[in-house]
């Protein structure tokens, strides 16, 4: 079976690409490890046009309903291990199968970046987590730290300050970088302490997390606490796209038409070098990628 298009990933970019492909009546397949991507792990969303307020899991459900309305071909829980394009045939290899198509859209997204400090791996899920939305409620009445002062760190802090006894918000650079509207809410919260110029150097504990070691302008200190939320940004999921041009951050390089360096292979959303990683941007990029793939196919025929 030679598909017109294979879409890799089902976050906002992949799902929007699928909706557009279904409406163009393309013969296509979606391969995804899970649905929603990082949107599913987001807390409150207030900047997706049309929704003044929606939670990440709810928006994911809306995305999924929208896509499945068209009765599309769909492989869930399948992880892509390699994508290649040779003389017009794109081959997508997963752990169990190989699929072929005339075009592909890589929309595999990104995953959280790790700190790379002692104790991080040992205490994952034992007090250290990368998902405040998922695990936040388990820390009711505890002392916790959020590492990272960008938007995801601020979002996590806003969620946790309602649940936890105290929150330390830790940022390595001299100031928080996330949106002012969130910073303002955090600065007036009585149970939040903001620590800037501060690096976390180790996670401590026995069975569960009992504290962290920090370094503020060269001064070492140990903070006793029970929860560590790591929110220091993202890494693109692009390991399977080795043959495709990527930048120094391993993001897939695309032009304004979502084309990669390989004819027939397009990419969209957080896996690409598009500036700014946002749900609404990923969704828009997904639609652009399908329209570009559609045009590419039309050119092949003529």
């Amino acid at each position: 079976m030679m598909y017109d298009l294979i879409i890799i990933g089902a976050g906002p970019a992949g799902i929007t690409a699928a909706v557009y492909a279904a409406r163009k009546k393309m013969n296509f397949l979606v391969i995804a490890k899970d649905v929603g991507g990082q949107t599913a792990l987001s807390g409150d969303i207030e900047n997706y046009t049309g929704y003044q307020f929606i939670t990440g899991p709810d928006l994911t459900m809306k995305f999924e309903e929208h896509m499945k309305k068209y009765g599309i071909n769909w492989k869930e829980n399948e992880e892509v291990v390699k994508v290649t394009g040779v003389s017009g045939v794109i081959s997508v290899k997963t752990a169990g199968d190989t699929y072929e198509a005339k075009t592909a859209i890589i929309a595999s997204g990104a995953r959280w970046r790790e700190l790379g400090i002692p104790g991080e791996k040992e205490f994952k899920n034992k007090g250290l987590t990368y998902c405040a939305t998922c695990d936040g409620p388990l820390f009711a009445g505890r002392d916790v730290a959020v590492i990272g002062g960008g938007n995801s760190g601020l979002e996590a802090t806003l969620q946790l300050m309602k649940i936890a006894k105290s929150v330390r918000l830790i940022e390595a650079s001299p100031r928080l970088t996330g949106d002012r509207i969130m910073q303002d809410k955090i600065r007036i919260a009585e149970n939040v302490t903001v620590l800037e110029n501060t690096k976390v150097t180790a996670v401590l504990g026995e069975k569960l997390v009992s504290g962290i070691k920090i370094n503020t302008n060269g001064k070492e200190q140990t903070l006793p606490l029970q929860g560590v939320f790591v929110e220091i940004g993202l890494m693109p999921i692009s390991e399977f796209a080795e043959g495709i041009d990527r930048n120094e951050y391993k993001e897939i390089k695309i032009n304004s038409r979502n084309e990669t360096n390989i004819p027939g292979i397009f990419a969209a959303g957080d896996v690409t070098d598009v500036p700014e990683k946002q749900i609404i941007i990923a969704a828009g990029e997904g639609s652009k990628a399908t329209l570009s793939a559609f045009r590419y196919l039309a050119r092949q025929k003529s």
Binding site: L41, P57, K126, C134, P137, L138, A140, L208
Partner: protein
């Protein structure tokens, strides 16, 4: 089958939602424990599993952490 199935979850966690949806679709009765509304229950979960991630599925004493379809099916079939 008649196995006793308990799910420890929070209302916001996407993998908890998926786990429960999967069990419902497979017509498996289960007890849902919302650990965010009870410190006692969240401590029970931590003691049982030695970790703090949700969801946790307890199938007749067999503990599965995270949404692992295959492990759940295997534990139900054994």
């Amino acid at each position: 089958m008649g196995k006793k199935v308990t799910v420890y979850s929070t209302p916001t966690c996407p993998y908890c939602i998926k786990t429960k949806k999967f069990l419902k679709e497979s017509s498996i009765d289960f007890t849902d424990i919302d650990v965010s509304s009870s410190t006692e229950k969240s401590q029970e979960m931590v003691q049982k599993t030695g970790q703090m991630g949700v969801p946790v599925v307890d199938i007749d004493g067999k503990i599965i952490v995270g949404f692992d379809k295959e492990a759940i099916e295997k534990a139900l079939a054994s």
